[in-house]
């Protein structure tokens, strides 16, 4: 009896593994790690949709999805599953620990892995230590800070405040270090705790900063998660002035900003519909809306899209065996710009052809502030 029990489980696992890998020369098989369940499942939907769209646009891509959940452990198991499906390359995963673990596993199983969301410096370190298989399409922590620094240079606020999210302190502090080197120290550096520690902390911080910040000040909000929305609501309700600069994530999506009427919120994105960096930019946003009936995600989703597009182009150029060489030597056109990779396998964000976008939500619509070639407006201050 007990054997029958195991047999069922094993049969189910084997079902997944036993499919013969049909490998035709034209098609690249890409595994996508998507956080379908758990804390990041909202972003996961965007990533999955974008991946499917990318496969459609690329034409030479076959996708295999696996749920990487919200822990590094689940990400690793999901990655192993993808490897068992004989994928040629893997993209995705969400949090930094997830990407770190998958990067190691990619090195071990010699499968190319494109980090499409996580920003941790550890990824470049792994490449420097000899892990050739990992590339990052997303920003690194320094670029997150650099982009915020660009905004400060544009806005020239009287003072700026840095509000971080406590469980992401390593990320926040790395980012702040980069901001400091560009624009000097913030007036105040403060972190609110995760609501599972202190449910009210973001309100307290919002009230505090609202009491301090003036008309011509900037609040840099280092929380990409859902609490950032609550923080912003609370900040404005308490009469908070100035501009709130969100590092992205939940508060960087125009339709969310519209829903909560988040006037004078500045946000960064990999690309926006109005910033036609390449021919693909508009195509991504338009086709996404048509296909899924909602606005496309402009960071995690878009970069997952680009990762797949990059792999598809690299595969066309050099085939499966030369994937790494092609990625390192070539230029790849994605929705966010033209990608090239440096020696540490990091996409050259900040180069002329690949820049993050800063937008401002004001008067119910999005105005582009940066990069200058796409700017549609100056920084607008609250009156």
């Amino acid at each position: 009896m007990k054997w029958r029990f195991f047999a069922i489980f094993l049969a189910l696992i084997l079902l997944g593994c036993a499919q013969p890998a049909e490998q035709s020369g034209e098609i690249i098989k890409i595994g996508v790690l998507v956080p379908e369940t758990g804390l990041y499942s909202t972003a996961g939907v965007a990533m999955k949709n974008a991946a499917e769209l990318a496969a459609e646009h690329a034409g030479n891509v076959e996708l295999v999805f696996a749920d990487c959940g919200d822990t590094p452990e689940k990400a690793k198991t999901a990655f192993e599953y993808l490897v068992s499906q004989n994928v040629d390359a893997v993209v995705g995963a969400y949090s930094s620990p997830q990407s770190m673990v998958v990067a190691d596993a990619a090195g071990e199983s010699k499968v190319v892995y494109l980090v499409s969301v996580a920003s941790t410096e550890a990824i470049e370190k792994k490449v420097a230590e000899g892990n050739n298989y990992v590339f990052r399409v997303a920003y690194n922590t320094t670029y997150w800070g650099a982009l915020a620094g660009e905004f400060l240079k544009l806005a020239k606020p009287e003072k700026y405040y840095f509000v971080g999210y406590d469980p992401l302190k390593t990320f926040n502090q790395g980012m702040l270090k980069s901001i400091k080197s560009l624009y000097g120290d913030p007036e105040v550096e403060v972190y609110y705790k995760s609501p599972s520690v202190s449910p009210d902390d973001y309100k307290k911080v919002a009230r505090e900063i609202a009491g301090m910040a003036g008309d011509r000040d900037v609040i840099i909000l280092g929380d990409p998660g859902g609490i950032s929305i609550n923080f912003l609501k609370e900040y404005r309700a308490n009469g908070g002035k100035g501009l709130v600069y969100s590092v992205g994530g939940a508060l960087a999506l125009p339709s969310t900003l519209k829903k909560i009427n988040a006037e004078y919120t500045v946000f960064q994105a990999a690309a926006l519909e109005v910033t036609e960096k390449t021919d693909m930019t508009k195509k991504y946003f338009e086709d996404y809306r048509e296909k899924y009936g909602e606005d496309a995600n402009n960071y995690a989703g878009l970069l997952t899209y680009d990762s797949i597009i990059i792999l598809s182009q690299a595969y066309k150029k050099g085939g499966k065996d030369k994937l790494i060489e092609t990625l390192l030597s070539g230029k790849f056109e994605g929705a966010a710009g033209i990608y090239r990779f440096n020696d540490l396998h990091q996409a050259l964000w900040g180069s002329d052809e690949l820049k993050g976008v800063i937008g401002e939500f004001v008067g119910g619509e999005v105005k582009v502030l940066y990069p200058p070639e796409f700017a549609t407006s100056q920084v607008l201050w609250m009156k």
Binding site: S41, P199, D200, G226, I229, N230, N238, A250, E294
Partner: protein, 240 residues
């Protein structure tokens, strides 16, 4: 201060429901996490008045199912089943509301003694206070005596002919119902996503556990959850 107090009242209500379910339902009801989330999604999907009513009903139904599924089981088994329910509700919500955005709604704020407070939080606070008062009045009735008896010694109460399974059923259903309602009332103050209920759940369990350690006498342990809720979040904020 007011806002912190309202949060403490909410957490204390959540923790009291956990204690009540533990004492009378004899399970650590982890399904509350998702029933709370369910309430929020109901509010998101319907017009406010019918949403509140639906939240009460759906919460009650969920509670009734959990109660029926965990009848006559050990505390540990019942707890695991409630965990299963919690995951099932959460995953179903993820299916039903497949979107790449946090669901958000606008909320209105009012100024109260120089402090800006969300109307929905106040509403939720008021509802809970009323609930507490009603709960405090229960022991005065005959039913209340039975309830106290069951809470005190479940087996003895059964031997004396108290219909414990009915009391258990009602306790789990009604508390689930109000947890769901609370989720609906608070929805506009939150960013909605399927696992949002867990952070409140975890704190509620901790507060309930501390209250259980601190004292076991009658209604006092429920009242005790308020200062514990305030102290716990304050201490952790200070510690970390």
């Amino acid at each position: 201060m007011i806002s912190a107090l309202l949060t403490a009242i909410f957490l204390s209500f959540f923790a009291s429901a956990v204690i009540l379910n533990y004492k009378i339902g004899r399970l650590l009801n982890l399904s509350f996490a998702s029933i709370f989330t369910l309430g929020a999604y109901i509010y998101f999907s319907f017009n406010p008045t019918s949403a509140l009513l639906l939240a009460l009903i759906f919460g009650g139904i969920m509670g009734a199912i959990v109660s029926a599924a965990t009848r006559k089981l050990s505390v540990a088994e019942a707890t695991i089943i409630s965990l299963g329910f919690s995951i099932a509700i959460e995953e179903s919500l993820r299916f039903l509301y497949r979107t790449s955005y946090y669901q958000v709604m606008e909320t209105n704020y009012v100024e109260l003694f120089g402090e800006v407070v969300s109307i929905h939080e106040m509403l939720n606070g008021a509802m809970i206070v009323l609930l507490f008062l009603a709960f405090a009045a229960i022991p005065l009735s005959r039913r209340g005596f039975e309830l106290k008896f069951v809470e005190d010694d479940w087996e003895l109460a059964e031997m004396y002919g108290v219909d414990t399974s009915r009391i258990r059923f009602l306790t789990i259903s009604i508390s689930s119902s109000f947890i769901c309602l609370s989720g609906a009332v608070l929805a506009p103050t939150q960013s909605l996503f399927p696992s949002m209920g867990w952070s409140s759940m975890v704190i509620a369990v901790i507060i309930a556990a501390i209250a259980a350690l601190a004292g076991n006498a009658g209604l006092r342990k429920y009242g005790l959850t308020i200062p514990i809720a305030i102290a716990y979040t304050a201490v952790l904020r200070w510690l970390l």
